[in-house]
């Protein structure tokens, strides 16, 4: 029984995720996408990187890979699944979560710390926080702008499925604090079940104390603990 970190060709945050989970005392292992999921995983991480070289659209190819059918089945069984950065793009391309992540408004790759406001504290991913807490976690993406149609956006808000919004250090959700032009400053969303979430920022890069900056991301990964 373990958390499966699915490694596609071009994933590059799979080791980071395993190390961060190890640090939290969570048994985790990398799983090569062609090998399929282990039996009865405790959880699944779709890690960051550049699966399939970001061909066509970031996450588009991996989302259609056979292992994603297994991930979908695991979701239906209630297994917690989180998609981080490229994993978030894979999750949205798989329709596990609503919306799409596309080219940053800046048209640039952005690698920087950002602040996130916790919009829901009653999910497995945010049980370590209080609602409206502000956490600092880094982003590193070129295609992280959250886009969603007006109707679907209204549903997203009505259903309370926004998990994190980009904000300033005081928790104000402003245009200036929106790094990539995301609709409604959305940085992370929930799937149909609260056990499924995707986010563009990297909690696994804000978990190990020896990395020297924030450890605010640990609370998200503690969902697997």
């Amino acid at each position: 029984m373990t958390v499966a970190v699915v490694q596609f060709g071009g994933s590059n945050c799979d080791r980071d995720a395993v190390r961060a989970l190890d640090h939290l005392g969570v048994d985790a292992e990398r799983v090569w996408y062609e090998d399929g999921l282990p039996a009865d995983p405790d959880g699944i991480v779709l890690p960051g990187g550049f699966s399939y070289g970001d061909y066509l659209r970031a996450g588009a190819m991996a989302a259609r890979d056979p292992i994603m059918s297994e991930v979908r089945a695991a979701v239906d069984d209630g297994v917690p699944v989180i998609g981080i950065c490229n994993g978030a793009q894979i999750g949205s391309e798989s329709r596990l979560t609503p919306g799409a992540f596309t080219t940053n408004a800046s048209a640039r790759f952005q690698c920087e710390p950002v602040h996130l406001r916790v919009e829901r504290a009653d999910t497995p991913w945010t049980a370590a926080y209080d609602e409206s807490d502000v956490i600092e976690v880094p982003i590193a993406h070129g295609e992280g702008r959250f886009e969603i149609g007006d109707e679907a956006h209204a549903d997203l808000v009505d259903d309370d499925r926004v998990l994190f919004r980009y904000c300033d250090a005081d928790g104000n959700v402003t245009d200036a604090a929106n790094p990539n032009g995301s609709t409604d400053n959305v940085a992370g969303v929930l799937g149909e079940r609260e056990t499924v979430a995707v986010l563009m920022p990297h909690p696994e890069r804000a978990t190990l104390p020896d990395l020297g900056r924030s450890t605010d991301g640990a609370g998200i990964l503690e969902a697997f603990a």
Binding site: R64, S92, P98, N104, A105, A107, R145, E147
Partner: protein
């Protein structure tokens, strides 16, 4: 069966920001070109055999639905020609 080329054009829905197109437009303007707007699109040319043009279009449309386009941000159209 007839040989067809189905051309699938995938473009961003109107109103969806296109930073690449904006950057391209700015570069053209720096070169001295005058233009009101610029939109970009992806074009896929799919060679396939089908019983008729409708079938070829239907299959190419399914390719767009399932992979080539993301319905959240894209519109697409399909044109079929014999090859």
């Amino acid at each position: 069966m007839t040989n067809y080329t189905a051309t699938v054009t995938v473009r961003l829905k109107r109103g969806v920001l296109d930073p690449e197109a904006e950057t391209t437009q700015q570069a053209l303007e720096r070169l001295g070109f005058e233009l009101d707007d610029l939109r970009s699109a992806d074009r896929f040319e799919v060679d396939l055999d089908a019983t008729d043009a409708d079938e070829a279009a239907e299959r190419a449309g399914e390719m767009a639905e399932r992979l080539l386009a993301n319905p959240t941000i894209h519109d697409y159209d399909v044109a079929v020609a014999e090859r």
